[in-house]
Symmetry: C2
Subunit: 245 residues, 2 copies
């Protein structure tokens, strides 16, 4: 196992940060490493908004489940899927941009996630810790207003980055043979494997340092998928130009 693989496998979300700035050059280097990720048809359909204004930071913290550490992280970045830039390119070359297709939504969303994950790896390789903030989608309209996003840009997730002030355990992942299949999808044996994994996760939740609980993974999932979340996303996206045609 090489050092990079070791780094990848040691990931855990950090929710408590030291009061220490990230050097501006390092931050730029980390973002550039992010940009080096693959991009579908070289669209580069991503914009990152760095929130340095403390008032704005506070509003993000509030709209994202009141997670206070969003205020304390050295950096809070909002990753946006961006088709506005390529739309502008169409205008410059007198082409009519085709807008609102599901495929374009997928391309720009995937571009955003690939770039962000590279940012994460670059940050973690520099001794920083991170936490993705999907909860900005609790109120994507407010987030859009705070960021003054134009049409055809939507906020996918936030990212806290900073120097870790905690050392949480790595959470065990699903066994490889559930996730990796050969030639075709079959879930015949999954129940048995997941039942064993359930016990492992239950033990992990009971023993971990923070936020102890007694719950298996499949229980957690049935709770998650058993309730309706963020039903506003469809209409919000439609309003922003992502019609899902």
């Amino acid at each position: 196992m090489n050092n990079t693989i070791e780094l990848l496998k040691s990931h855990r979300s950090i929710r408590k940060f030291k009061d220490k700035k990230i050097d501006e050059n390092l931050l730029n280097e980390i973002i550039r490493a992010g940009q080096a990720a693959a991009s579908s048809s070289f669209l580069q359909g991503v914009s990152i908004i760095r929130i340095t204004n403390q008032e704005k930071r506070k509003e993000f913290s509030e709209l994202a489940n009141n997670q206070a550490f969003i205020n304390d992280a050295s950096e809070f970045l909002v990753f946006c899927a961006d088709l506005n830039r390529s739309s502008m390119c169409c205008n410059w070359h007198e082409a009519k941009a085709t807008e609102g297709f599901t495929e374009q939504f997928i391309i720009s969303t995937v571009d955003t996630a690939l770039l962000a994950q590279n940012v994460v790896i670059a940050a973690e390789s520099s001794g920083l810790g991170i936490c993705y903030i999907g909860a900005i989608r609790n109120n994507p309209q407010k987030a859009t207003e705070l960021l003054e996003l134009p049409k055809n840009v939507y906020p996918v997730f936030g990212l806290c980055i900073g120097y870790p002030d905690q050392n949480p355990e790595v959470k065990p992942r699903l066994p490889l043979n559930v996730v990796l299949k050969e030639n075709s999808y079959s879930d015949n044996k999954d129940k048995e494997i997941i039942e064993e994994y359930d016990l492992e996760i239950k033990k992990y939740y009971q023993k971990r340092t923070d936020n102890k609980k007694s719950m298996t993974w499949s229980e957690q999932m049935s709770g998650l998928l058993g309730r309706e979340v963020r039903l506003h996303m469809r209409q919000f996206l439609k309003n922003r130009g992502f019609e899902m045609k």
Copy 2:
């Protein structure tokens, strides 16, 4: 700049591979490193189908723009957004799964991309090269049949992995100050910056070893967004359980 950041910044897609197998232990290690990526609400909403059957490989190569190197890569993996697994968890715990919401589509698609990008970094750190194959979405229905995917699972992209038999140049990315913005989105200065970048990309396309062409980035984008692509995605996803409610 540390070694990991250097690795990230040296990424380029590889489309020509040596006839050399990837050690099975290494492959498993790479996938495990992928799984270590963050996952929204710990959904782990991803399945990977490894295509070892040469007939199936050929069919994928044909449906994905006849890209022959899909046959030659040591490994061809199809990354699927998977809500079937969590749906099964609901059944086991007698909860009714909420299905078809846009938010769930986003979560599982982002989970898939984050995991895949970790796989890519782990592979590249081991001397392997990769190429994402978004073109499997040219015929996602055929891909779904080949993979025997159940409802609530869709193929997001393929990934070729192997030992590189070419050494292409790194493609210059958009300048940082177009992609990274502070506190709010503004594109006032973007035209000027992109015009300069256009010249850089034109020079790169003219000089690179393979597939030389004379084109700026904004021209490329206006061509890309100026035509309608994969209009079938919406209906395909709907049929597979991703209704985008």
